[in-house]
Subunit: 621 residues, 2 copies
């Protein structure tokens, strides 16, 4: 273990994030280094301050840790190449771009004029020839449109409008004859559709875009996040293009140092003579270092030092194997273990403790890829034959591959002999998923529900329909049918009836209000009521729904507390209201009635404690 | 969408895994192809059957899907190179190996004799020169030892003893003069420590090792799984070596086709003239294809076709970004929301509903890397100042980077002003984690508990100690102190006392047995009891522990059911036994006593229903 990040009085007080503390140490370690030289092929670059030194790390959820001169503007130079190659791919498709630009590393210098012998293509988009060919592939009706799209794309990457350094652009243009030679050579072999002068002008502007170290880290993090900006949430580049951009960065990003770089540092990277280097750890981080002192290859000296140090210290290597695919199933349970939140009459609860086994709930998480879907499919195939209803909860899914999703849904179609119904929940946040579900089509087989509790309740209702006499909501429930009054003799029922008040409610009426004193127990005779709690944010959350034959409001009576929830009528409702005072008086007047009611309440609570304890155990597994 | 994997009658009946069904289609698609030619530089290879064709996929948890001639033996040839390079790294360390073998792609042929100009090293370990240098680095006192280690390593990779094809070895040895030239040249530039003839003999044997397609898939999956065999669970190669092996496979594995291969197929790969190709999708899969018909580069024609098809169909690309780091926190809650399973007296439960906020539980999952740890640290830093106890549950962790763990624990040390105690649970299955915890040292600050429920209970006890009069276990609890008897007048208590039997138990005595009829309620006066349920597998699970002042056995009385759990004395125990008969008689004799008891039972159950409902909601978030 190194001494870095030791506890320091200052850190504790300020509650500084330890990653920031670590970066401060690394920055201090190299701050005094003056190795390397400023780029001098144009005067503007040689005027940079050799002290400039910044380090920025951006996470894929948009946190930025940075130290040093991370707000200092400089020109992006060659760091623009992978991003413009990404534009070329997105604008023209894979085949067209592959026909014009290769993807093999070249042993030659970055400004080599040589082309691949067989195909006449530039070796790859990270050397100047390939980069100019990429710029030539930006779509637009005219120069202005192309230039505006270029600036817009970079603005989308960094999350603010970018502009170019005019004097650098002028100098690049004035001294850019070698690049012009490359342009004409490309035109000569038909790898450039537009006029070379126009493409070159765009290319010189592209290299002169002003960025800072933080911007570059955010750009790298956007690639690390599959093309979605972690700052703005906007998709800047499609995922299939990101895959290809990272591929060429990994094999060609550091010119003839690329093999060593991937081996040692292990991040697809790109450097520019402006002093910037970016590195992408896909699915993890984007990193940028800025220091304009360059080595003989044109890479920032401190940039390479810091990347090496960070990679080694934290094992930030691409091939550090991530095994998260294994945990794609967050939880799997059946509805006899964790049922819907709906409170049901005892008879239904008893049935569900058996029928619930036919409903299986899968909570998936992380990324859906072939490897993770394979695990889910294998698990589903191993379910007992009694599993008829599948609920797939996508709430915790972070990303998904379209082919893997297609594969998954195809699998369901092929298993319709066993599975009666597949219900997907929490799909709305996943456009990929919505598209796949639409392509398969909703039916009585494939369904979508907002949340998993809804879906479980829906399946429970389907199963119960076949088992019990359906009770319509508009039929008055007789008193002896109430769970709470089970075991009362008929004369006791008649006695009780005189103590109850029949109450009528319209849709939306509040029968009980949260926070009020408990004044009665309610027996629901007709209709449905929903129980809500008020959330601190002013919204309401539905806890459950009650059907005729059930009581509500008894818990506050038992606990002698105020109402802990509100009860609202769903449509027309009829209740027997049992005033607290009448209930209390039973102790003296008809103790046997009170004993029966109290024992029924206690029994029902005891059954619920047992069931909820099971649910907690299942959910914590 | 392609038509592949359409529902087929056969598939449904046999319940065939759709991945296998898909592989069968791909196999059928290319089965009749006769493109390419058999290797003919030695007669043994030219005698292969051109029909041979197998595809195997192995997952990182050891599932194998395969079709065709996957059990047919053939010689491993160049596919051995990355694995022997891995041995060289593990035997000699990174610096020593780097000094002898480069990692840059070379534009030259695989059997080129050229070396890197500056360093005199072979360009990389995937061409013959680098591979022979790797073989020369296998440690051992003599040839026999080295050869035996070589065979043992490959046996460990495939999960069964391997042997060599003697006649191929003889032929390779007889025709291997170019490789001998390479060997002597390496010796000449001091990149070979042993006698070239000995190294070459080992190299020819290495190339002649007999494997089949399934073996190669398992070897690839072992790399995909960070060096741990998914079949045997044995660590065949350390993770830091896997990282480097995959790096050179990605940049140099397919010779001068490597850039294109990573771009198109996106898997670190290696082929051999025996007809095998392996591909590794780190953290996901290992794939192998076997077909001895080769293209002019020496790669299996159908091998390349199948890899391209699989990669394209399923987006099996290395740079398909995995975002699982984002879901490292499976769940975060405080103990007022989900407390320990310990059933506590009402007074303690009431206290815990406030004090529980000081205990925060983190359930982590997936891989612990810098990026995922950063998220956890950020979350912990945002906790309110009242969070004093942290419980970190590592149960669902699949892998961890040592530097990330060091970073994590260092962070705790630096935050001791707020955090009083950090308790790690389920650490035992993670040797890396145990090592880090040991390096930091257990203390009253860092603790380890077997499971999270233990840890929560431990923290609750610490918090309660400071709040309530500690009640020793050996002091007789007076009847009015029992939750169940709250509200009884002193004369009622005296009446009740005559109905109770005082019972004494020794450690391990079963006070209640699961499945028996419920015959009494028990009031625990001295000592502790634990409640267990029998599991179907014959084991017992502890549900909870009760302390003096609490009742047990009342739920079966309320539900009029048999005992659903067993209750065992922890040490010496004294109970007041309240026989069912006596309890029932109270209805007639002393109804007021029974009302009080029944209301106390119902109130307590109601409170538990409320608390458990909260827990279920918290755990399902």
């Amino acid at each position: 273990m190194t001494n870095s990040n030791d506890c320091k009085e200052g850190n504790i007080r300020a509650r500084i994030h330890p990653l920031l503390a670590y970066l401060q140490e690394v920055h201090a370690k190299y701050a005094d280094s003056r190795d390397g030289a400023l780029a001098d092929y144009i005067p503007e670059l040689s005027r940079a301050d050799p002290n400039w030194f910044g380090i920025s790390i951006a996470t894929i959820d948009g946190q930025i840790y940075q130290v040093g001169d991370t707000a200092q503007d400089f020109t992006i130079q060659s760091v623009s190449k992978p991003f413009v190659y990404g534009m070329a791919l997105q604008d023209n498709g894979l085949a067209y771009v592959n026909d014009r630009i290769g993807v093999e590393p070249s042993g030659d210098a970055f400004n080599s004029i040589s082309l691949q012998k067989d195909s006449g293509r530039p070796f790859n988009p990270m050397i100047n020839a390939g980069a100019i060919a990429s710029t030539g592939l930006i779509l637009g009706d005219n120069f202005e449109q192309k230039y505006s799209r270029l600036l817009q794309t970079f603005s989308d990457y960094v999350g603010r409008p970018v502009s170019i350094d005019e004097s650098v652009y002028q100098s690049e243009s004035e001294t850019g004859d070698r690049n012009r030679a490359i342009g004409y050579m490309l035109r000569n072999v038909k790898k450039l559709d537009s006029a070379p002068e126009e493409v070159l002008d765009l290319y010189f502007r592209q290299c002169s875009i002003l960025v800072n170290c933080r911007d570059l880290a955010v750009m790298a993090a956007t690639l690390a996040n599959g093309g979605v900006s972690p700052i703005t949430g906007k998709t800047v580049i499609d995922e299939w293009c990101v895959t290809r951009v990272l591929s060429v960065m990994s094999t060609c990003g550091m010119y003839d140092y690329s093999g060593e770089w991937i081996f040692r540092v292990g991040m697809p990277s790109k450097s520019g003579v402006g002093g910037g280097i970016i590195g992408v750890l896909p699915g993890h981080l984007g990193i940028a270092v800025f220091s304009p002192l360059l080595d003989e290859r044109g890479n920032s000296v401190r940039g390479i030092q810091v990347f090496s140090e960070l990679s080694e210290h934290f094992d930030l290597h691409l091939f550090n194997v991530n095994r998260s695919t294994k945990s794609v199933i967050r939880s799997r349970y059946s509805a006899d273990k964790v049922g819907s939140k709906r409170v049901r009459p005892e008879s239904e609860m008893k049935l569900m403790s058996e029928l619930g086994k036919r409903i299986t709930i899968y909570e998936l998480q992380g990324d859906l890829t072939l490897a993770s879907i394979e695990i889910v499919i294998r698990d589903i195939m191993a379910l007992p034959d009694t599993s008829e209803y599948l609920i797939i909860d996508f709430k915790r899914i972070l990303g998904s591959d379209r082919p893997a999703l297609d594969f998954f849904f195809k699998f369901f179609e092929c298993n319709f002999d066993q599975i009666k119904d597949v219900i997907c929940t929490h799909v709305i946040d996943h456009p990929e998923l919505v598209a796949v579900i639409e392509s398969f089509g909703l039916s009585s087989f494939f369904r979508v529900k907002t949340d998993t509790d809804d879906a479980i309740e829906f399946c429970e209702d389907l199963l119960l329909q076949n088992q019990i006499q359906p009770r319509t909501n508009y039929e008055l429930t007789e008193l002896p049918d109430f769970d709470l009054l089970r075991g009362l003799h008929s004369e006791e029922v008649n006695t009780l009836l005189r103590l109850l008040n029949k109450r009528y409610y319209e849709d939306g009426d509040a029968i009980i209000k949260q926070g009020q004193p408990a004044e009665a127990i309610y027996l629901l005779a007709v209709g449905q009521v929903s129980i809500y709690i008020d959330l601190p944010n002013g919204q309401k959350r539905r806890l459950t729904t009650c059907s005729p034959g059930m009581a509500f409001g008894e818990m506050a009576i038992i606990e002698r507390s105020n109402r802990s929830a509100s009860v609202i009528a769903n449509g027309k409702v009829v209740c027997y209201q049992f005033p607290l005072e009448a209930y209390e008086k039973l102790t003296q007047t008809y103790p046997s009635i009170k004993f029966t009611i109290l024992e029924n309440i206690a029994r029902r609570l005891s059954v619920r404690v047992r069931k909820l304890t099971d649910e907690v155990r299942t959910l914590s597994q």
